[in-house]
């Protein structure tokens, strides 16, 4: 590059910055793929620390349930409040429940739960693993001849696959309930009309897709967070950088995957 461009030119600096970001992107992606391979190998063989898996499932589910329900519930109330009045005016009052339910099952519940999980669990996983890395705790595990993938990473990532669908189901039910209450209070829509419309508009396929998406999101969030934590270096700054990276990458990954799922299942 230096042969063709002058070092002080803006083009050169831009290309250099681009090269730096591209290198970080490719190496992070490579690290995630390597970690995925190692973890999947343990999960397929079920070579996992069961005690740790149970604890991580508890941590994943219990600690993130209030925030997940709050986010999904509130966004459902917002949508129902905005839409119910207008739909009733246009003569579509019988479709409010269906609209809210389809929105929740196909998109809102799973993506909002994903965001909540990134805040609550992804950042916590990344900072926990990064702290263990920079304080030599992961090296200590290796020197004690314990497999860190089996003990640390596989239980955390499998707990994401198990718990995220459960959280999404509970959040969906909570969101539908919130939508019904909001429609009733804001526009006087009866609960019966709302729930009749929900049953009319929901398909089992949508629910399966939602659960599958949730499992993939749970896997991806936990995988990215653990990987970013594992490759942390330096001290407190390294932990902070790893946490930020985990949150940013998880956000981008689940929005990107959501787009792929939308194209694959509903295009």
């Amino acid at each position: 590059m230096e042969r063709f461009l002058f070092k002080n030119t803006l083009t050169y600096q831009l290309l250099l910055t681009l090269q730096k970001y591209l290198t970080v992107f490719i190496s992070t992606l490579g690290n995630i793929v390597i970690m995925m391979g190692m973890v999947l190998k343990r999960i397929i063989k079920f070579d996992i620390d069961i005690k740790e898996l149970i604890y991580q499932c508890y941590r994943f589910g219990v600690s993130s349930l209030p925030i997940t329900l709050s986010i999904v519930g509130m966004s459902s109330v917002i949508v129902a409040t905005q839409v119910a009045g207008e739909m009733i005016k246009q003569g579509g009052g019988n479709y409010v429940g269906m609209f809210v339910a389809i929105l929740l099952v196909r998109e809102e519940a799973v993506i909002m739960s994903g965001f909540a999980i990134i805040y609550m669990i992804g950042s916590s996983l990344a900072s926990e693993i990064a702290t263990m890395k920079v304080t030599d705790q992961i090296d200590a595990i290796k020197v004690l001849k314990v497999d860190p993938i089996r003990y640390l990473f596989a239980p955390r990532i499998l707990s994401g696959i198990i718990m995220m669908p459960l959280l999404t189901i509970i959040a969906t039910l909570f969101g539908i309930l919130g939508g019904a209450v909001a429609s009733n209070l804001a526009s006087g829509l009866s609960y019966r009309a709302f729930f009749d419309s929900v049953w009319f508009g929901l398909f089992v396929r949508d629910m399966y897709i939602s659960i599958f998406k949730a499992a993939v999101f749970g896997f991806v969030i936990a995988l990215i967070s653990c990987t970013c934590g594992y490759y942390a270096d330096g001290g407190a700054k390294g932990v902070g950088d790893a946490t930020t990276k985990a949150v940013v990458w998880s956000f981008i990954a689940i929005v990107f995957l959501d787009m792929i799922f939308a194209i694959a299942f509903f295009f």
Binding site: Q137, D139, L144, V146
Partner: protein, 239 residues
């Protein structure tokens, strides 16, 4: 023979951190590795423990290797009992070998060996730096290793705690007959614990001898280290 290192080489980012070094440590012997920060001391321990792989040379070891880390590296989410019994519970070849009762007995014995009793339920954050260090000693010896590596075991401790730790290093050597390597900056640690010493500078051995010889020998390297002088062949942050 505990540890035999032959022509060991390690390069990071085209810089030779360890440059063709050889040494050996017998069972029941303590080798101190000294040198300024960045001279490659801790890298040697990481190479011997298998945390990083060498670019060249051989490391021949007999038996299990244990390592005590500079800042203890205790698992902060586990209590003292779980920290010490960790390898016995989680290691593939040891898993399910011990009953809960046996585990408690072993942990109790190891804690007594490092002068701590009745703290099994405490978490690392509830212990002083010296106590954390001793718990990490107990964790290291729980699998009866034949090789024990100490990475700056007295770093960050007050002089009295340092002496206590140094006494435990010697005690563990006597109890286990393990071959030990202590990476340190401190003359007191070298004098109290080591049977022999090597000094590293720029990844190479610039002195090998006994602690007495280190103090008495009039080479530019040993003089500078012992007198903690800025003048001499060794430059801090050497390029």
């Amino acid at each position: 023979m505990g540890i035999k290192v032959e022509n060991l080489t390690k390069t990071f980012d085209s810089k030779k951190v360890i440059d063709n070094i050889s040494f050996s440590v017998n069972d029941g012997e303590i080798l101190a590795i000294v040198g300024f920060s960045g001279s490659g001391k801790s890298t040697v321990l990481k190479l011997i423990s298998g945390l990083i792989t060498p670019d060249g040379g051989n490391i021949i070891t007999t038996g299990d290797i244990a390592m005590v880390f500079q800042y203890s590296a205790l698992f902060d989410s586990l209590n003292v009992f779980d920290n010490i019994s960790f390898a016995l519970v989680e290691r593939k070849d040891l898993r399910k070998k011990y009953t809960e009762q046996e585990l408690h007995k072993i942990v109790k014995e190891k804690l007594e060996l490092v002068g701590l009793s009745g703290i099994e339920g405490k978490f690392p954050s509830e212990l002083s730096g010296g106590m954390q260090k001793r718990v990490s000693f107990a964790r290291a010896i729980v699998t009866e290793p034949q090789i024990i590596l100490y990475d700056e075991p007295t770093a960050g401790l007050d002089p009295i705690s340092s002496t206590l730790i140094e006494n435990y290093i010697v005690r563990l050597k006597n109890e286990t007959n393990a071959a030990s390597i202590v990476v340190t900056h401190q003359m007191s640690t070298i004098k109290r614990t080591a049977d022999k010493v090597i000094m590293l500078y720029n990844g190479q051995i610039v002195f090998a001898g006994t602690p007495d010889e280190l103090e008495k020998e009039e080479t530019p390297y040993t003089k500078q280290f012992v007198n903690a002088s800025l003048d001499g062949p060794m430059k801090m942050f050497a390029e």
